[in-house]
Subunit: 204 residues, 2 copies
DNA sequence: GTCTATACAGGGATAGAC
DNA sequence: GTCTATCCCTGTATAGAC
């Protein structure tokens, strides 16, 4: 196994010894194992039956913890976001984008999951993923714009650029570069994002 | 129907009256209708059976013209690329990126198909899509870098930037913005790409 | 060459037993 | 909480009609 997506024993509100201990741990086990199966067999190979097999339960048992396959896969991404934000003290700024890129090249399975789920979310019938990414982008653009504003003010510089638009651009570049990298591992994502950073005002 | 993806009667080598006329037209009909079904029911709803139903043939008939569902969907994208390149005299430069963005906001179904197929291509088991996008990105980066070089030389300016990296960045931004736009139609893709254009050297 | 009919393995979702 | 059984849908492959 790759490792626990998020440590349940320290962050879970119900504790690991309460009446729901087994259920909570089982839920965590499903999230962890799902990421393993994705890395081994790809998203399309990550059927509920395949995950269940990896754990030793039937596929129907999984639906007791997650409303649907889609919801389960989204939860894997959500758990990852949480651990990144906690461990790296991520505030959503431009610098964090580079660091995230550096970390992500070491977990291609996760980047693949992110890419596939994001594409899945753009179509009706995938409302769970859609809600997740809508909120994720809205928050990401907001915090990124705030970071740009703060850096600009600190340097005493001014700009006529729409910082929300710049934020959307940086996030878009990051997502787009990940896809190109998945298809051609020679591409250097962190270097290219740093290049974009250099082009931005107040980041000489 | 949305319209013919590419006019077969003028570009097809075998002609529309030859011995294979019916097959050629049928193949074209499948490509056209597939785009309609995608627009109406989403990619996941675009099963071979759904396409066949829209045409009035069995789903098995489709496999006579296309090796697989994946190959069929890729051919829709390839046909669209061809018509864009012919009609707009697209040379793959930065300016074409803005124009393509302006055209694409009018065909969200196509943007959706592109996004979903691109994400599909990053995983093993989808070699047809993978080959298509690998080549598409390689060519796109090359022509875009050449365009940047030409503009730079024409303006007499110089830069220490890696132009292939800049090209990858512009393409990545375009792809990433399309996804954000699909989730939030308020986002202005052409304006944001123009913003990036402004940041680039030799494009004041 | 074009197409229908059919069979197969596998998918997500769900109902109800235990 | 977990199971089995079942439903309907999918892409693919093949046999054979015309």
């Amino acid at each position: 196994m790759i490792g626990r997506v998020v440590d349940v024993s320290s962050s879970d509100g119900t504790g690991t010894r309460g009446p729901y201990a087994k259920g909570v741990q089982r839920r965590q086990e499903i999230l962890d194992r799902t990421l393993d199966v994705v890395a081994e067999r790809g998203i399309d190979g990550t059927s509920l039956r395949a995950i269940g097999e990896a754990i030793g339960v039937s596929h129907a048992a999984l639906t007791h913890y997650f409303e649907s396959r889609e919801a389960l896969l989204v939860e894997v991404l959500r758990a990852r976001d949480q651990v990144v934000q906690q461990e790296f003290d991520d505030d959503g700024g431009v610098a964090d984008m580079v660091r995230a890129a550096e970390a992500n090249v070491r977990v291609p399975g996760l980047v693949t999951l992110y890419t596939r789920m994001l594409a899945m979310s753009v179509e009706p019938g995938n409302e769970v993923a859609q809600a997740f990414f809508r909120e994720r982008f809205a928050e990401g653009r907001k915090s990124m714009a705030a970071d740009l504003r703060a850096r600009l003010d600190a340097s005493g510089a001014t700009t006529d650029l729409d910082l929300e638009q710049v934020a959307a651009l940086v996030i878009a570049a990051s997502d787009g570069l990940q896809v190109q990298w998945l298809l051609d591992r020679d591409l250097d994502i962190p270097a290219t994002i740093r290049l974009l950073e250099r082009l931005l005002p107040a980041t000489p």
